[in-house]
């Protein structure tokens, strides 16, 4: 059986994590291809609906990337994102979408290497956790 | 607290007194040591010149054996060279992707595997971080008086992994020595290299380095070490250096746990002081030994 490759959707803030992903690229820091990035202008723009939709569409993990507190390009969008994530985590957890599948991380524009580490770590973690729920059903059915 | 114990080869041979003193000290402090079963050589400095992988595999095997003992995570290592080799593996398996798999592949036949869950601790780290001067002071029978000690750290417990002290200006021994009533000899040679195994290959270089240390310690009643190699270089070559330099640079050299245990009231025999090569009569007198 081929190894399980989790699908991760990244919602990355244009000013920090998306730029960090660009930097990881220019620095040729390789990381698992499991993550696919959607460009947002700010982590504070990520509507909980997007995360729910991603999981319902079969994502095994969702990673929101924002600026470190205090560094938000829009002053405090990331702080709002943090509260939304805290709230949404509680709902997802209740239905077996573990906290380890839904990450918010602060990754500054200069932290290309951290982006690499976070994606590697998350991919590893998801491999340990195995298939996300909706994929499990699909595999079973 | 409980520690796993890795004495290493030196402590079975040339540095047997370090082994004796370390065990006596840990016992006096109320900590238990569990010697890692079936431990082997850390690779010393020889392995690396033969194979880089071998130089990692040897210490990695020791760590893997230690992991069998699941409850105790800290490995106490008195020898700085062993400490460095073991530490190197602990650090590298975290930072070098694929290394852990490579090592475990080597261990397949032996049916052991390494996860990276143990922590390598130098004896000095354990004494200064886990115990500290207050606990030491509490066990002192009689404090030394007018005893000036030059704390000598050497390289390998400080560099390149600055875990518990500043490699350029180490100080971790000072509060411990003060706790037993010793005065700290003012010098800045504590973190300098003793020449290590250059003593065998490029003796002139090593003699110069040891000479610098002994010179710096003039005025001290003893130099205290935490490494068999440092101890050996400082005690075994001081006569030769004195002769070469035309200056009496002889001094007492002993291991840190030896000195601490003496303050606890243990006998010379208890701490293996009879095995040391250069304990001066004057030191014996000042330290209150008869």
């Amino acid at each position: 059986m081929s190894r399980f490759e989790p699908k991760i959707v990244g919602f990355f803030c244009n000013w920090c994590t998306y730029t960090a992903a660009d930097l990881a690229g220019t620095s040729r820091l390789s990381y698992p291809a499991n993550i696919k990035i959607i460009r947002m202008m700010c982590s504070g723009m990520v509507d909980p609906k997007y995360v729910i939709k991603a999981f319902l569409n079969g994502a095994d993990g969702v990673l929101i990337g924002g600026c470190w507190p205090g560094d938000c390009h829009y002053i405090n969008g990331n702080l709002k994102a943090r509260r939304r994530v805290a709230m949404l985590t509680e709902i997802l957890k209740a239905y077996g979408i573990e906290e380890e599948r839904f990450w918010l991380r602060w990754i500054a524009a200069s932290e290309g290497n951290m982006l690499q580490e976070v994606v590697e770590e998350m991919t590893e973690k998801l491999k340990e956790l195995g298939l996300g729920q909706l994929n499990r059903e699909k595999m079973a059915g | 607290m409980k520690y796993q114990y890795y004495p290493g080869c030196s402590l079975e041979g040339t540095a047997i007194e370090y082994n004796i003193a370390t065990q006596a000290f840990m016992k006096a402090m109320g900590h238990k040591l569990y010697e890692i079963e079936d431990w082997t050589c850390c690779g010393a400095s020889a392995a690396e010149s033969i194979s880089s992988l071998l130089s990692l595999a040897l210490p990695a095997r020791v760590l893997a054996l230690a992991e069998k003992q699941e409850k105790i995570k800290d490995i106490l290592v008195p020898c700085s060279a062993c400490y460095l080799n073991l530490k190197k593996v602990e650090v590298k398996i975290q930072s070098e992707p694929g290394l852990l798999e490579k090592l475990n592949f080597l261990f397949e036949d032996e049916e052991i595997s390494l996860k990276g869950s143990v922590k390598v601790r130098h004896l000095l780290d354990v004494i200064s971080t886990d115990m500290g001067p207050a606990q030491i002071a509490a066990r002192v029978k009689e404090k030394f008086e007018n005893l000036s000690i030059a704390p000598y750290y050497g390289c390998q417990c400080l560099r390149p992994y600055a875990v518990f002290d500043n490699p350029e200006a180490p100080v971790s021994m000072e509060p411990l020595l003060k706790a037993v009533g010793a005065d700290i000899h003012p010098w800045d040679m504590g973190g300098k290299c003793c020449g290590a195994s250059h003593m065998n290959t490029k003796m002139d270089v090593a003699l110069e380095l040891v000479g610098g240390i002994l010179k710096g310690a003039k005025g001290a009643d003893a130099i205290v070490t935490v490494c068999p190699m440092c101890q050996m270089n400082l005690e075994a070559y001081q006569k030769k250096i004195s002769r070469l330099q035309g200056e009496d640079l002889n001094n007492s050299i002993l291991y840190l746990p030896q000195l601490l245990c003496l303050a606890f009231g243990l006998s010379e025999k208890d701490v293996g002081l009879d095995k040391n090569l250069s304990i001066t009569a004057e030191f014996r007198k000042k330290a209150g030994l008869t």
Binding site: P69, R82, M87, E90, R105 | -
Partner: protein, 376 residues
């Protein structure tokens, strides 16, 4: 400090006495209007708005039925205020929802004299009709319920009421107390200056604080909390995956009645009925392509999960969602278990206080560090 006045009544006279009390209030112009449950000319009991004293006769406040959560009605009356003072007689769940709506600028309490009542539960609408048809009265219900018996024939009060920790309404101006009020007596308690003023202008005589009340309320609350915890535990054990959730919603037809009945689902138009969810044909096709099958109507679980995200923090547990579902989906425990988790995370309780900001409307620098676990 709470002041009590007593409203004595002989058997069968409770509603008459209450009607007198409110009639007096309207006559004295303490308020200009009254919103309270009243017997309807045809059938049933509904919240009814009355502006003339002569029309309060039909009042039946303690009728064990809540056809709609009246927070929504209060919102209709006050979001574009009439400028007239209105007394509203509401239950705890309605008041707590109303407080959330006030925070969301969907209702205003300036011109409202808020009157809470002890609530012993409600029957589902159909059950209440039967209850009424068989000649039972509110007084009968109170008498039995106070004795610990809420059941009537083979039906009982709604599941939501059985696990409701708030039999007594807080944040009100006046409170109509029946729990431990003494037989043949109803106590009216004033809790605010506004309430005190209204009560003082009535002709009722003073009463001391009922000694047993606190104890009785506590006992009732504890019993309900126990029932709640038991239900939550069972629910969480069974409905713990998306699969199980789909099972719960298997009968859902996307009618969105739950959200219409929900007092805190405050949007004018739910996002699920806006353009955002009006998909193109090829989108449906592509979903079917990739998933193999596509249940229609689609987005069912998406809708319910999103609704949890939107109102989980405001849910007051009134159970109107369950009552409103045409296919008898038991939404109440689903939403209440989620609400407990999300509200706890923010140390928030829907309807506890008007002054408590809603969790997602505010934010601070150093909080929820554990979400990212990162410290610079």
């Amino acid at each position: 400090m709470a002041d009590f006045k007593k409203l004595p009544f002989s058997k069968g006279e409770l509603n008459t006495k209450l009607a007198d009390f409110f009639k007096d209030m309207l006559e004295k112009k303490t308020v200009d209007a009254l919103l309270a449950p009243m017997v309807q000319p045809k059938k049933g009991v509904m919240q009814t708005l009355v502006t003339h004293p002569s029309h309060v006769e039909a009042i039946d406040i303690f009728a064990p039925v809540v056809p709609v959560n009246a927070a929504k009605l209060a919102s209709s009356l006050t979001s574009n205020p009439s400028g007239r003072k209105v007394a509203m007689v509401l239950r705890s769940c309605e008041i707590r929802a109303l407080i959330e709506l006030v925070k969301l600028k969907q209702a205003h309490l300036e011109d409202v004299l808020l009157i809470g009542m002890d609530c012993l539960g409600r029957y589902e609408n159909q059950d209440f009709f039967k209850f009424q048809e068989q000649g039972n009265t509110s007084e009968d219900f109170i008498e039995n319920a106070l004795a610990g018996n809420t059941a009537f024939n083979d039906t009982d009060i709604s599941a939501a009421c059985k696990i409701c920790e708030f039999p007594v309404a807080d944040n009100v101006d006046l409170r109509l107390c029946i729990i431990a009020a003494g037989s043949g007596e109803l106590l009216i308690e004033s809790l605010t200056e506004k309430g005190e003023k209204a009560l003082d202008s009535s002709d009722l005589s003073n009463a001391g604080a009922p000694k047993e009340r606190q104890n009785a309320v506590q006992q009732l609350t504890e019993a309900r909390i126990n029932a709640r915890d038991l239900l939550f535990k069972e629910h969480r054990e069974t409905v713990n995956s998306i699969d199980a959730l789909e099972n719960e919603f298997a009968k859902c037809i996307n009618c969105y009645n739950c959200r219409v009945a929900c007092p805190v689902c405050y949007c004018k138009e739910c996002v699920f009925v806006t353009d955002t969810f009006r998909h193109n044909g090829d989108q449906y096709m592509s979903w079917a392509d990739s998933r193999g099958t596509l249940k229609m109507p689609a987005d069912t679980i998406f809708f319910h999960l999103t609704r949890m995200a939107h109102i989980g923090l405001f849910c007051v547990g009134c159970g109107q969602c369950s009552s409103a579902c045409p296919n008898d989906i038991n939404l109440m425990p689903i939403f209440r278990t989620i609400a407990q988790k999300t509200q706890d995370r923010f140390d928030y309780q829907a309807g506890r206080s008007v002054d408590e900001p809603q969790p997602l409307a505010v934010f601070h620098d150093d909080e929820f560090i554990e979400v990212t676990g990162q410290v610079k």
